[in-house]
């Protein structure tokens, strides 16, 4: 457990208050309150459709909330000017689920891309920095490959190298283990832990992989149907007696009671003559 994470005097890096989000008419996030402390690895866990990806998109300011407030480094992101948001985003790194590497650029150019856009460093310095980050994620020597030539694990590591190239203070991971075999996945978990220790960066991981979540997390937030069931340390989550949390932890499906009339109505409500 990271000590900074438990210190109440430390300002939270992320503060979410009363966040509500919709897709069309459907309420996806329901009054979410969340705090992520400086230096911790905070895992947001939940099954498919729990709203965790939507929560991540809101934390990244890719979606606007219907109501509620999101503060990153103490700044309310929904009220920031375009310039202030631009500056704020330079303090953040994101590793997307599919990597989101630019297919037209090779791995080294991908990693160097944020440096080229945001700094005035000369070409050689940029290339050296990009190679250093590729070393960190064990991709030394693969810089000249195109993204299409990489394996799933290598794509995730290249995306991670790009995410940390600006030395961010806050790092987001979307499903780091998805689609990877257990060994590669464990390798990536180790990398995440090493990064936090080496860079002191705050990390938010969104995942549905239990094993990975418990291996890396300082605290876990469990989301279900758009609501937070619990935010606590890994031990507290394991001991939580909420049946829905236990269902998720034990990979049990929830029993759904079916009302016969409602079921019939669902099957026939848009058919004519019934």
């Amino acid at each position: 457990m990271n000590q900074a994470a438990l210190n109440p005097a430390v300002d939270p890096v992320i503060e979410v208050t009363n966040l509500v989000a919709y897709y069309g008419e459907r309420r996806i996030l329901d009054e979410i309150d969340l705090q992520v402390e400086r230096g911790e690895i905070h895992v947001v866990m939940g099954g498919s459709g729990s709203g965790k990806s939507t929560l991540l998109r809101h934390l990244l300011s890719l979606n606007r909330p219907a109501s509620g407030e999101i503060r990153l480094f103490g700044e309310a992101v929904n009220h920031l000017s375009a310039r202030a948001l631009h500056r704020l985003r330079q303090r953040i790194g994101v590793s997307f689920q599919g990597g989101a590497l630019f297919n037209s650029l090779n791995v080294e150019e991908n990693v160097a891309f944020p440096l080229r856009e945001h700094t005035r460093l000369d070409d050689n310095t940029i290339r050296i920095m990009a190679r250093m980050k590729l070393e960190v994620v064990n991709l030394a020597g693969f810089g000249q490959l195109m993204p299409a030539q990489l394996s799933g694990g290598m794509i995730k590591r290249a995306a991670l190298a790009r995410a940390i190239v600006m030395d961010p203070q806050l790092l987001f991971f979307d499903e780091p283990s998805a689609g990877l075999d257990p060994v590669v996945s464990a390798d990536l978990d180790e990398l995440i832990l090493r990064l936090r220790d080496a860079m002191g960066v705050t990390i938010v991981v969104v995942t549905h992989e239990l094993e990975s979540a418990f291996r890396i997390a300082d605290r876990i937030t469990v989301l279900d149907k758009g609501k937070i069931l619990i935010t606590a340390t890994t031990d507290e989550v394991k001991q939580c007696d909420n049946p829905r949390v236990q269902n998720l932890l034990n990979r049990r499906t929830e029993e759904i009671t079916v009302d016969a009339d409602e079921y019939l109505q669902r099957l026939t409500d848009d058919l004519n003559g019934l």
């Binding site: 953040i92 997307f96 599919g98």
Partner: protein, 265 residues
């Protein structure tokens, strides 16, 4: 009665969607201009190598096909013109006919239709697949505006290359028309060219060039907007690409009609 209500409802909904789309295109256009003009002062310029790469793809690589189509068009106009004018014993008037219609109308139209088909579809597919693989989101979270990085270079390259392609199309069509006329009417190519220059005023050439700028803007915006709107996997990408080409060509022809009306009153 119900079907009438449904018809009115659908018409209203379609009109709203169309208005929304026009608004989105206008926003893309103004935002691109903003980044082109103000970006350098904010330390976020539109990158020259990106513009050069787009100019290559949009303009230089389209040159052979534009030249071939325009040349063929010039020959066709000469064949039709001579055949029609022969009925009035006025076949020598084919030269001004070709000169006017090529510079005012067909040169730019062929260049625009080729670019809409070639680059319009490619741009929509490229931005669409970036949208699908979260590359556009990645740009945003890196603090790089997708409009600055993706749309502005395309728009600028289009504004530079469309007039160039139009001039090339005009030249190729005049050469095609001149060669055929030369063979049939025993007129040398240099005499044909001289007579073209005697006929044409700068205004005729400018008509085509002005239209080429408008068509360039239309193609860029329609292709980019369709790329950004991709959803629904490979099928959605295919739909956006097709829609981009069809809408671009429709917009080009309608805009051409409107411009021709106002420029020739």
């Amino acid at each position: 009665m119900t079907s009438l209500v449904r018809f009115i409802e659908q018409t209203g909904r379609s009109s709203l969607t169309a208005l929304e789309e026009i608004g989105y295109h206008a926003a893309l256009f103004s935002e691109s201009l903003y980044w082109l003009l103000v970006g350098p002062f904010l330390g976020q310029p539109v990158r020259l190598p990106t513009i050069a790469a787009e100019m290559m793809k949009i303009g230089v690589l389209a040159l052979p096909v534009v030249a071939l189509l325009s040349f063929s068009n010039g020959v066709m106009m000469a064949i039709q013109g001579i055949a029609t004018l022969q009925e009035f014993d006025a076949e020598s008037q084919v030269v001004p006919g070709i000169a006017y219609s090529v510079t005012r109308e067909f040169g730019v139209l062929i260049a625009a239709i080729v670019v809409a088909g070639r680059s319009g579809s490619a741009i929509a597919a490229r931005i669409g697949s970036m949208q699908m693989s979260q590359e556009v989101d990645a740009l945003r979270v890196m603090g790089i505006e997708p409009v600055r990085h993706l749309v502005a270079p395309i728009l600028f390259a289009m504004l530079l290359m469309m007039p160039v392609l139009t001039l090339c199309a005009d030249t190729a069509a005049l050469i095609g028309g001149g060669l055929y006329t030369g063979i049939v009417l025993k007129l040398s190519l240099s005499t044909f060219i001289d007579r073209c220059f005697d006929t044409l005023a700068l205004y005729d050439l400018m008509q085509g060039l002005l239209k080429s700028l408008v068509f360039g803007v239309l193609i860029s915006l329609i292709a980019c907007a369709n790329g950004f709107s991709v959803s629904g996997g490979a099928e959605g990408l295919g739909r956006a690409t097709t829609r981009s080409v069809v809408l671009s060509i429709a917009a080009i022809v309608v805009a051409d009609m409107i411009f021709t009306y106002f420029l020739n009153r």
